[in-house]
């Protein structure tokens, strides 16, 4: 018998049929004697609809009223799932953010959970009642509804699992786990049984939409074991030879057979900015990146080429492609202060990353990577590394080739 938090995202509760499928998964856990608290997202595109209404009402609007409007999406799912569970003979009730309450700070629209009161909930769960909690919402210190920012339902689930001391937090989504590579590009990609928090963090920050970065951080801090699994798999699916459904995101100590590289990720949401003929003197980096930081533009990889004459240099860096136009505007505005000859932006690039906690203890992962790229004639435009990740920026045309090459290089291909 285990205490579980089950989280169902937007596609897993898109309509009443999908909510019924979610209820069947919950029923299976209850039938196995588990205690279940459930966190739900809004149905399908309801949140987008509500958000667009607030924008249409006024482009700049009171975040407190935005929260009043947008939090209703999860509330609706919450009531409907409770009704469906009851109809299946499972005692269930909804617990809205202000009812538990889920205490957050006062950053309306992007609040952080401070504390979740769970005394009542624990008693109910012990009595076999399912608690259905709307994700993404809480109660601010001002006594008003807060929302956690987009994707916040994962965070709600992890925070609730931490507060309850749950044995596991099952994240039901539209994919059946975390893969060694994007199966659309690498047909040989394998689903991982386990992945460490650190690896998952790198994967999430590289654009994998499966889990929100913040929820993984929270899970790591509180040591909440996350199981990423598909709500589209039948609730009564039998897994051959006892293999588990989904991928467990857990502490690395729980992963017995650690591989050097656990996966290859890539992201297309990158744009490259190049400043040509920048004066090569102290303080120039501050004059370039200061204004970008002021404009809230996040800079990722940075490469500075030493110039031939020693007086000017070329400076290349990447930003999110959504920020490219704004970044170019900012740099045009401060051209006089920086002093550069030319400014170029490009989006035909991708970032390909190799991720694995094994890298910490294995040398040579990077050099293998660079050699493989060179062998395929792929030019590396920039490199960035962390303890458990190596990312390279390359021409978008070579994205698939690079991902497949690296997937094979590190022995990730399916046997």
């Amino acid at each position: 018998m285990a205490l579980l938090v089950l989280k169902f995202g937007g596609t897993s509760v898109a309509d009443l049929e999908r909510i019924r499928a979610a209820a069947a998964h919950i029923k299976r856990e209850i039938d196995q004697g588990n205690q279940c608290a459930v966190v739900v997202s809004a149905m399908g595109d309801q949140t987008d609809r509500l958000v667009s209404w607030t924008r249409e009402a006024a482009p700049l609007h009171d975040a407190r009223e935005y929260d009043v409007v947008v939090s209703t999406g999860e509330q609706v799912t919450c009531g409907l799932l409770s009704i469906i569970l009851q109809d299946m003979g499972i005692p269930a009730r909804s617990w809205l953010g202000w009812q538990l309450p889920v205490h957050t700070d006062d950053a309306h629209g992007a609040a952080r959970i401070v504390d979740i009161e769970t005394d009542q909930l624990k008693t109910r769960l012990k009595n076999g009642e399912v608690a259905v909690v709307p994700g993404f919402q809480g109660l601010g210190p001002d006594g008003r509804v807060t929302t956690l920012g987009r994707g916040g339902s994962d965070t709600s689930a992890v925070a609730l699992a931490a507060a309850l001391g749950a044995d596991r937090c099952d994240i039901y989504t539209d994919v059946d786990g975390i893969y060694t590579g994007d199966p659309r590009i690498v047909p040989q990609a394998r689903r991982l049984d386990k992945i460490s928090y650190e690896e998952m963090l790198e994967t999430a920050s590289l654009g994998a939409k499966v889990l929100q970065t913040r929820s993984v951080q929270l899970a790591m801090v509180h040591q909440v074991r996350l199981l990423v699994r598909s709500s589209f798999e039948p609730a009564d699916a039998q897994h051959e030879d006892g293999t588990q459904a989904g991928t467990l995101v857990c502490d690395e100590d729980e992963i017995v057979e650690q591989q050097v590289v656990s996966g290859i990720a890539y992201t297309k949401d990158e744009a490259k900015v190049t400043l040509i003929g920048v004066q090569d003197k102290p303080g120039v980096a501050a004059r370039v990146f200061g204004p970008l930081a002021d404009a809230n533009i996040n800079v990722d990889m940075i490469v500075q080429n030493v110039s031939g004459d020693g007086k000017t240099t070329d400076l290349t860096f990447t930003v999110s492609d959504a920020d490219l136009d704004r970044a170019l505007e900012v740099l045009k505005d401060v051209k006089a202060e920086i002093g550069y000859e030319d400014l170029r932006g490009a989006t035909d690039i991708v970032k390909v990353s190799v991720i694995g906690i094994g890298m910490r203890s294995h040398a040579g992962v990077a050099s293998q990577m660079f050699k493989a790229m060179a062998d395929k004639g792929i030019n590396i435009e920039a490199i960035s590394t962390s303890e458990i990740k190596i990312s390279v920026l390359i021409d978008a045309a070579y994205a698939e080739l690079a991902v497949r090459t690296l997937h094979s290089l590190y022995g990730l291909d399916n046997a």
Copy 2:
């Protein structure tokens, strides 16, 4: 300077354009120095959509979870209107049912308001802030969301006006007031400047959809003056020679020139049941109407004809046409107990009513009515009266003729 409660129904907040129009009406009142608390319904058909989801989830469902789902409709409008008001430079904030709170009893899905806490609200209103309150919802003694049943937003507005001691409660809707007759049938119908609570009650219970019966009762008890007006009229419309917008529903003492008859109403939602050859002996009425009452079927007009032989009689009565099939079933089931020869049901009838508080002091209103009907060859199948109302049941084919005849008879036609 006055303290006003403004209520905007579903068609008056159907979309963002309509919500903006509502905001313009609120702005006019604020600009005139009034304090405004606003009660809103859900946008257009949102409530129907939410209700149908709960039914689809499970035909028989927990009313507490129904309330969780359905109350979100008003919450959305509430946030959006607050955003739009703020955008127009008017300080505004939403106050959800659980935040004020609006205390109700525990009859989830059909709760009654017990008390509304208004201390905070009064302070805010005095400071020129508009309070936007979702209609139709409250907080039960169980600490959970309640809803007041369909059409409850009018009741919310009146209860809030009573709690605040408001000078007036303005009900914005899609008609511009209460008419002496249905303008679609009687082109000469006039809009009334004032109508008494009692008359409005009779009109509402006769199927006029403008105000909910319960909200009029509440207004009468608490002496809340209601102004029924159109949100579709431009906010800055000028009324010639100072005539007011809409119809004021108020105490009869406030109506200086009382007319004998204030209006002619009719309702098609009637069905007639006739039991032929019923044994004419004591206790038969109980045996007929007891089972109907047990089945929650409301019986309106009753006529019993004395039979020729003194042993059997025919019994005719009306029920709502929605209840007809059920009423016939119930009576078939107890045929042996009642002892009747034949049972007939018909829906081709209408109830036409003459309403006016002046009737109390004027004799002859009924006899005038019966004579006028006879002159037009209209057969009266049943009659029911109250202190301020006379209703007759007639063949549906004569509905328009009867309404126009009576409208003219009592001097209601436009000059």
